[in-house]
């Protein structure tokens, strides 16, 4: 095969950069993934079918994907609002609030999980109040979604924020001068223009939520069939020395994630045609 850049490029060091790219991708991504595939193949097709048809496993997949999807969707809404506030708002300590956004990235996930549980457990003031009013959070799928929102929110904010900052005020003024209301300006001009960054924020938040373990396990309560997520099942299998079973689950989770991400990327490519190509 003949490797070269799309067009003849004046970029120096093509060979070197290709080497570094292939080497690092192989070492960090491909090698562990192939090991995973290799190990899971020991189970054979029948092993896959057997593991994946267990009701407990199916329930875990359902809980994981539906919670991650919900969390990512809520994060999109919250993220846009927060990004808007950070870009357009003028308030004291703006830089401090801005720095606060990244905190979930830095926090050990177990710490966030314990903190959220402490806040929303039925015996805590806030969690107790919510539970009394028919809205229990900890140890229900809601708790899982909440933890996923917590870890995913910075992805949406950090993706939308620069796009919004780049959005020229002229565009909103133009829409306004043409008779559009604030709402029409938002839905027909601002949001469509932010769509690529919203989509990539959504993708990142969604994939992070799918693989999340540390912050979820504490608040989820891990009741089989109800609040058990796939990553927890994988750990459970590992702890009972069923490594092959664990890799079967891991490969299935990865495949499903990959398919969803691929679909989102297709969507993104469709929107990309408006942007300068």
């Amino acid at each position: 095969m003949d490797f070269h850049f799309k067009e003849k490029s004046i970029l120096p060091g093509f060979g070197l950069s290709l080497g570094v790219t292939v080497f690092s991708l192989s070492l960090i991504v491909l090698l562990p993934l192939s090991a995973l595939l290799l190990r899971s193949s020991q189970a054979g097709v029948s092993g896959f079918i057997e593991t994946l048809s267990q009701p407990r496993v199916l329930a875990a997949f359902k809980v994981t994907f539906s919670s991650a999807l919900q969390a990512a969707l809520i994060n999109v809404v919250l993220g846009i609002v927060v990004a808007w506030f950070l870009v357009r708002g003028r308030f004291p300590l703006k830089r401090l609030v801005d720095a606060l956004v990244d905190l979930p990235f830095a926090m050990p996930t177990a710490v966030s999980g314990i903190a959220l549980t402490a806040l929303f457990a039925p015996n805590a003031p806030l969690g107790g109040f919510l539970a009394q009013h028919g809205f229990p959070v900890a140890f229900t799928p809601r708790g899982i979604t909440l933890a996923m929102i917590f870890v995913g929110l910075p992805f949406v904010i950090r993706n939308v924020q620069p796009a919004l900052a780049d959005l020229s005020r002229d565009l909103e003024e133009a829409a306004n001068s043409l008779g559009a209301t604030r709402f029409q300006t938002l839905t027909r001009v601002v949001l469509p223009l932010l769509l690529p960054s919203i989509l990539s924020g959504f993708t990142l938040a969604f994939s992070r939520a799918l693989g999340e373990y540390g912050s979820v396990v504490f608040i989820a309560g891990n009741l089989p069939f109800k609040t058990e997520i796939v990553s927890l099942l994988i750990i459970t299998k590992l702890e009972s020395f069923d490594v092959t079973g664990a890799t079967v689950l891991a490969v299935s989770l990865l495949t499903l994630s990959f398919v969803s991400l691929f679909l989102i990327n297709l969507l993104q490519a469709r929107t990309a045609k408006y942007f300068g190509n």
């Binding site: 002229d170 133009a174 001068s177 008779g179 559009a180 209301t181 029409q184 469509p192 942007f275 300068g276």
Partner: protein
Amino acid sequence: MSITIQNVSKTFGTFKALQNINLKVASGSLTALLGPSGSGKTTLLRIVAGLESVDEESGGEIHFDGSAVTANPVNQRQVGFVFQHYALFRHMTVFENIAFGLKVKPRKERLSKEEIKDRVFELLKLIQLEQLADRFPSQLSGGQRQRVALARALAVQPKVLLLDEPFGALDAQVRTELRRWLRHLHDTIHVTSLFVTHDQEEALEVADSIVVMNKGEIEQVGAPNEVFQNPATEFVMKFLGDVNVFHGRIHDDRGVFTDEHKGGDENVRLLVRPHDLDIRLSPGEGVSLPAKVYRVLIIGPLVKVELLNSQNQLIQVQISHETYQMTPVKADQQVYLVPKSSRVYGDGAVDYAI
């Protein structure tokens, strides 16, 4: 639709962008707001559009055809606004951009799909871009984008058309072409138009009427020729073209050139345009100012001669190629300058012309 601006002031923090502006723009005219950057011309345009509010304590008002629109927000003012950097919606085609204003109207007032299509194609024809209806803005040249922006603004049949440095981002050739085209367009549709520019040539060439602004105030309002020939202030004269400044004094109610600083009542400045100076090889009768040729620039049909006077100040003279060939001069040659006309500004000088 005439525009009346009454006692309008605008302050940004401590900066006075506009100070008590009063102006009437005649219905159907094409008026230029001309001034250097920071003169408040764009702020004034944005206030007329409703994109900026009037300082409340000033009690200023904007009227369209006699009825106050000061309290109307921009989306109810029915103005067409054209931005310097086009501000086209890049996720929409040319067609969708132009149709935008028609599609966001409340259902009762909205035209049917076919009517919108007809109207958009009518406008595309007007801007001569019918074949580009399905293109995205990123596929158009700067001049084409600005024409689309203009069509988009005209689609809603605005009461007034406001243009903020519409040709500022274009290169020289496209600019001249679009200027001519804008004038032609205005002669076809007669919508009252107000445009901002810092280019005096553009204002002189396109506008029916020029409003010269400086430091948040209006210096002069008038027809292009009048503003150019009879500048009301020294600022206007300097802004509308190159000028040479000479020292002078008032003698018998006339401005008199004094070649050197002599003190005393030498308190006025005489301003002479480069084309109002003749070059003579020997001193003649009347005023003739000695100067030495510094260099000669031949620019097509024009010849620009730069000279230095006894105080080493640069003087610019502009003559035709023909005149230059009759009396050719070269660097370091001693010559004499004869002003054909000058204007006097300065302490106590009202308006003396010789």
